[in-house]
Amino acid sequence: MADYLWDNIFRKDAKEKELITRLKENFLFELLSNKELSFIEQIVHVRTYRANEVIFRQGEAGVGMYIIKKGNVDIYAAENIPGQENQAETKVTSLTEGDFFGEISLVEAGSRRTATAATSTETELIGFFRPDLIELLERNPNIGAKVVFRLAEVLGRRLAETTDKISLIKQELVRISEKKRRKKDVQQPHSDS
């Protein structure tokens, strides 16, 4: 009986340490001290998912982000083609331990999920949601400000990445239209003759 009790206490302690370690590894919380992380630990939610379980679906209301504590998550997106029902979802990316997703919902009120997230193995996620962020800012604004700054940095990076991708797509479009024009120019004199 005594062994069983001691065993359980140590296991719980190890679990808490594991959660703090995982939080410290995350970009949002990496600047926080252990004391500050203990506060965050009381606010976040640990959720367990079975393999192939949907975490959220594209178009659903979203209120926060998830950090992968253990396991793997696949992200799927359906192309929004007007007039087409049953649009097939294509796998966009696979995420693994330490990765995080859904952070836009943390700052955008009334946001909708832009993709579907589903587990591919048994997975443990750390959920950090808008109400939790508001609670953090209300109860401990020092920690809240640190987290919000890091969150702004993440969103800034995402914006920069998206801008880069859009410029690449634009360049590619210009290259394709140039190629088409040259092809047309080559065909034009031939047809004139």
């Binding site: 959720r47 079975r50 379980e53 949907v54 975490i55 209301a61 926060g64 109400p131 109860r139």
Partner: protein, 350 residues
């Protein structure tokens, strides 16, 4: 794959059932156990009133438990001071009212009897009710009950006033933890919805309770000042009564004005006094409608007036005056829950 899906579905059903059963058990406990409903409602009011101050102290680095204890001490001292200041005035007025109660009983009967006579004159043979007989029995019963029920009321009052702060202390200290434990039991597909709903309902309830109490306080104060200036008897008791009835939307202000007008009529006060009493209540309501409601209340609960009146009637049928007061926040919470559930289950899942 099939196995995994079946397992997920079974787990969701079990978790949903457990959560639903727990909610039913809590609801049953609150309704079935004596004094529990009043204690929980009062504890929630205390919690929503003190929570912003607890958060403020916590932001300054004070531990949450210390902040709550500190606030409880400050509020208790403040209330004791208020009671010691107003007790002499209130006790004199209550004593006077108790002494003059038979006079008012007879006065009310006379007033209604005159009204009945006039109604019979106007309606002739069509009117054949005997209200006076019913009123006499009702007054005799309620006057008897008022004094014979005092020990029972005092014991209930004491129980609620001991239980409510006790509950409020733990709601303020461990409320978030308890909600987190409860959310942990939610199935994964409903977890985000439940978390967001809890946040929204909490925010709305907090804003609603703080706004309504502020509104009632201002209305009560204006009426007290007005009646005191006129030199009307029982100004403090009437102001407290008006402040309390003002918590009931739409019908409350009218109920609050009835005793003052009845007293003025029974005492056969000059018309100018009756006019000034009516004006005092009207000014309080104008201040409420023009300034307080648009600033603090209107933006919080957006329910249609007809819906509000129906909800108040249902509340009064189920739980009397307490039901009338808590019917609006409960209806707002239910509306929010159903809208969110509908959006989640129908709009997004279609």
């Amino acid at each position: 794959m099939y196995n995994s899906r079946t397992l997920i579905r079974r787990e969701r059903y079990i978790k949903s059932f457990t959560v639903f059963a727990l909610l039913c058990f809590f609801a049953w406990t609150i309704f079935a156990v004596e004094n529990m409903m009043a204690s929980v409602v009062l504890a929630l009011v205390i919690t929503y009133l003190l929570n912003p101050f607890v958060n403020k102290l916590e932001r300054k680095g004070t531990r949450r438990t210390t902040s709550i204890l500190l606030l409880f001490v400050v509020v208790s001292l403040g209330l004791s001071l208020l009671v010691s200041l107003f007790y002499p005035i209130l006790s004199t007025q209550i004593g006077d009212l108790q002494a003059e109660l038979p006079k008012y009983q007879i006065g009310i009967v006379k007033l209604i009897s005159n009204l009945e006579k006039k109604a019979q004159e106007i309606m002739g043979g069509y009117y054949s009710f005997d209200i006076i007989k019913g009123i006499n029995t009702l007054i005799a019963e309620s006057a008897g009950a008022l004094f014979s029920n005092i020990p029972d009321f005092a014991s209930k009052f004491l129980t609620v006033f001991i239980l409510a702060p006790f509950f409020a202390f733990f709601m303020l200290r461990d409320g978030r933890g308890v909600v987190r434990q409860f959310l942990r039991m939610m199935p994964n597909n409903l977890f985000e919805l439940a978390l967001n709903l809890n946040y929204q309902i909490n925010e709305q309830m907090g804003d609603f309770i703080r706004a309504r109490l502020l509104e009632a306080g201002i209305v009560g104060f204006v009426i007290w000042v007005g009646l005191a200036i006129i030199g009307f008897p029982y100004a403090s008791i009437l102001a407290i009564f008006a402040a309390l009835t003002n918590l009931i939307p739409y019908v409350g202000p009218f109920i609050g004005a009835v005793p003052a007008i009845a007293i003025a009529l029974i005492n056969k006060d000059p018309s100018i006094i009756i006019f000034l009493v009516c004006m005092t209540y009207a000014i309080a309501q104008i201040i409420d409608i023009v300034f307080i409601i648009p600033m603090v209340v209107a933006k919080i609960v957006n329910l249609h007036p007809v819906f509000v009146v129906v909800v108040i009637i249902i509340g009064s049928q189920l739980m009397g005056i307490l039901g009338m007061i808590i019917s609006i926040p409960v209806a707002s919470a239910l509306k929010l829950t159903f809208t969110a559930l509908y959006d989640h289950l129908i709009n997004f899942r279609s």
